[in-house]
């Protein structure tokens, strides 16, 4: 693949929407939530950027970020070990009055000096709660051609009900757009309207100089949120261009949607839609191939390397190193890394976090509308 000379740097916000999946982020953050049998959520945006030649990427970690640091390492798997640029991780700066970032504005305000010293013309900012195989070059090109100040990506989709239920103004914001002739004319914050809408993906392209200027001004005024406090009030003054994304979008908006978005990938059509573009990279574990032993019965599953399957597994997603022993029955489950289902256990509609053990003969069932979640390291 030819990397263009993209003159853009990336800024990622790995903690955004943590509040939507409180169980999953108990020991991690949105960006490091395991997804699609061998990935973490951040892999998708990060790989997409790297594949588009964006090789100067800053990750604004806020809290619970040990798992993300471990996952990213030096950034080698994404080819982001660079002398110029590469992967930068920016935790909240520890000074006397330091506090965690509350929004994108104070997070970016803390790296203004860094932003000033960079050479890229554009900045791409994004969250990590969506799994996409995104062509940033197409978006940047569109941004340049439209002559806009800011370009914001959106997709058209049925509004996920879990957003309405889970999000309130004290937990975070989501945005929908009114668009006129390619220009965003109105931004709605936490709308309660349902149905098909122009759903903001929180991916923006903006000139670096303009971003520095906007963030600086907003920060001085004590404003916190890029979309709500910078874009929304200035829609008349700033040309905010809408970039429609037609590709596959898996958006995590709650436990149920986490379950559903994983399960959707059991359909080849969806799997190809998400993965057939550029490659998605992730941390390598050097597991051996998965072994199916005599007696294994598997149907409609996606399985990563390092598993040993001796029992029955149907309609499930298995992450690396899962063991399903003889006589165990697993149906409609998501089993994260190194889960062990011992012989004779029967489970259905379960999401097991890493290193869960379901012991001999135990039975446990959730339902399709309410998958049961078992926290990291627990034994049933």
């Amino acid at each position: 693949m030819v990397k263009s000379n993209t003159s853009a740097l990336g800024i990622l916000f790995p903690n955004t929407y943590d509040a939507l999946v409180p169980e999953l982020v108990n020991v991690r953050l949105m960006a490091s939530i395991p997804f699609a049998s061998r990935y973490r959520m951040i892999d998708f945006i990060l790989s997409s950027m790297a594949n588009c030649g964006i090789d100067n990427i800053s990750v604004m970690v806020n809290n619970n970020y040990h798992s993300l640091m471990d996952h990213l390492g030096s950034g080698r798997e994404w080819d982001l070990v660079r002398k110029n640029g590469g992967l930068n991780i920016f935790p909240p700066f520890a000074e006397k009055n330091s506090k965690l970032y509350t929004g994108r504005v104070d997070a970016m305000a803390s790296i203004l000096d860094f932003l000033r010293s960079q050479k890229e013309k554009y900045v791409v900012i994004a969250d990590t709660n969506i799994a996409v195989n995104f062509d940033f070059n197409a978006m940047i090109q569109d941004h340049i051609e439209s002559g806009a100040d800011v370009t914001s990506a959106y997709n058209v989709q049925e509004f996920p009900e879990s957003f309405l239920r889970n999000l309130s103004n004290d937990k975070g914001f989501y945005y929908t757009f009114s668009i006129d002739n390619g220009r965003i004319t109105k931004i709605y914050v936490n709308t309660k309207e349902t149905g098909v809408q122009n759903f903001g993906m929180n991916i923006h392209v903006i000139d670096r100089e303009l971003l520095i200027d906007l963030v600086n001004t907003a920060f001085v005024r004590g404003q916190q949120y890029f979309e709500r406090d910078i874009l929304l009030p200035q829609l008349n003054r700033l040309h905010v261009h809408a970039y429609k994304y037609d590709g596959y979008v898996a958006r995590i908006s709650g436990m149920k949607s986490y379950f559903d978005e994983n399960m959707k990938l059991l359909d080849d059509y969806n799997l190809d839609a998400l993965f057939s573009g550029s490659p998605i990279y992730t941390k390598i574990r050097d597991d051996n191939p998965t072994r199916y032993i005599e007696g294994a019965k598997v149907e409609n599953v996606m399985v990563a390397d390092g598993c040993i399957i001796e029992g029955t597994v149907e309609n499930s997603i298995l992450f690396r190193g899962v063991k399903v022993e003889r006589g165990a029955v697993v149906k409609n489950c998501i089993l994260m890394q190194d889960t062990v289902i011992q012989s004779g256990a029967q489970i259905e509609y379960l999401i097991t976090d890493k290193n869960v053990l379901v012991s001999h003969g135990k039975e446990m069932r959730g339902t399709d509308t309410f998958p049961v979640y078992i926290a990291k390291g627990h034994t049933i």
Partner: protein, 402 residues
């Protein structure tokens, strides 16, 4: 700063007995065990044994191998001082030479070893499947006060005459070396893995090079010369899994043994002795409703809609609905179309097997072979490939090849 021990890995073997598999590939780069290549084993052994400097001597079809090794990062061999180095024959002021033999290959790279000034050099072979702790071997070498040690395996007496044999005394000291003898005096077969004291290696390689009658081979020349001079030579007994995968049938067999670690002794599921490899980066594999998978190893990127029994599938293999795969080794990127039957064979990378084609057959009276399909070959619909066939060119639909 001197290194205690560095490794020199002989990876120039043409692997001519692997025919269709080594047309464009050096033998050490031949895929093995679902996601590995043969060379992953000695490289991983090195790293797991604490050896951080490895010279890989290449010669034949080195492109794939060179790219695969790269900077050595997958094996943790990207080091500031040391690490992995691919050493092809090169042009010198006095002209360039192909490596004439195993000893000459090391001789031509004496200056590479010199840079690290090691106490010991371990010579490894790039065509064996083996998990071995070289640090234990070195410990033995030091305890015996040896100048040269060779790793040996006990083999059945009736097969001993196929090997290079070490005759030893009660103290494991080597008293005689027999190369494929008619009347074996020992059943200790050389594994082709040696530890030399660096000064001894240098001395004997230099002398060997000066001898115009020498074949420049470790087995035929260096070891006999060491014996002649009554050097301190010892045999280190190794009892783990070891397999020379130099032939189609032994390669197939070793792959099948991976499926049965409880009995064969080759366990790839060993967190304390991982075998590292360059990963495919594909998504998790998928097994569709209606597919049958039994007693098999499957890795990332595979899509299984048909039946897979007792087989090893490498990354990105697609098995369409109604296809049957049994007792087979199917390498990366190969597509088996619907209705095809693939049995008891090795299919190399990126092969297409057409609809309702038949490749190979289970062994029966008088018919016992491992059909082999070379990389990139297209087998047409309804074609038939016999159990002894060695296919390296496309086979048209409906044709037969035996």
């Amino acid at each position: 700063m001197a290194k205690e021990m560095i490794a020199m890995l002989l990876a120039g073997g043409q692997g001519s007995r692997l025919y269709a598999l080594t047309q464009k590939l050096a033998k050490p780069a031949v895929p093995f065990g679902g996601k590995y290549r043969i060379i992953d084993f000695p490289l991983s052994n090195c790293v797991n044994s604490g050896i951080d400097t490895v010279g890989i001597l290449t010669q034949y079809q080195p492109l794939v191998l060179n790219e695969y090794i790269g900077n050595g990062q997958p094996w943790d061999l990207d080091r500031l001082y040391g690490g992995v180095h691919v050493l092809p024959p090169y042009q010198q002021a006095s002209g360039s030479d192909w490596y004439k033999g195993t000893a000459n290959a090391i001789y031509q790279n004496l200056s590479f070893i010199e840079r690290y000034d090691p106490q010991y050099v371990i010579i490894l072979s790039g065509d064996q499947i083996c998990k071995q702790d070289y640090s234990d071997f070195l410990k033995f070498h030091k305890e015996k006060g040896a100048e040269f040690s060779v790793a040996v395996m006990e083999v059945p007496w009736d097969e001993a005459s196929r090997f290079g044999l070490m005759v030893t005394d009660a103290n494991d000291r080597i008293t005689e070396f027999q190369e494929k003898p008619k009347n074996p005096k020992s059943n200790l077969a050389s594994m082709g893995i040696y530890i030399f004291n660096w000064d001894i290696l240098k001395k004997y390689l230099t002398e060997d090079e000066a001898d115009p009658n020498s074949e420049n081979d470790f087995g035929n020349n260096i070891i006999p010369n060491l014996l002649r001079d009554n050097r301190e030579m010892y045999a280190y007994h190794f009892s783990g899994y070891w397999k020379d995968v130099g032939t189609i049938s032994s390669l197939w067999e070793a792959n099948m043994e991976v499926l049965d670690p409880e009995h064969s002794g080759i366990n790839l599921f060993d967190n304390d002795w991982k075998i590292y490899s360059r990963n495919s980066g594909m998504t998790g594999h998928k097994i569709s409703a209606g597919a049958v998978v039994e007693n098999s190893m499957i890795t990332d990127g595979c899509r299984i809609k048909g039946t897979v029994k007792h087989s090893i599938l490498f990354a990105g293999v697609k098995v369409e609905k109604g296809a049957v795969i049994e007792d087979a080794v199917i390498m990366g990127g190969t597509v088996v179309k619907s209705g095809a039957v693939v049995r008891h064979c090795i299919v190399a990378e990126n092969v297409t097997i057409g609809e309702d084609a038949v490749v190979g057959a289970m062994p029966s009276e008088g018919e016992n072979g491992v059909a082999t399909i070379g990389a990139g070959v297209v087998i047409g619909d309804n074609a038939k490939i016999g159990p002894k066939a060695m296919v390296s060119k496309n086979v048209e639909g409906g044709e037969e090849q035996w």
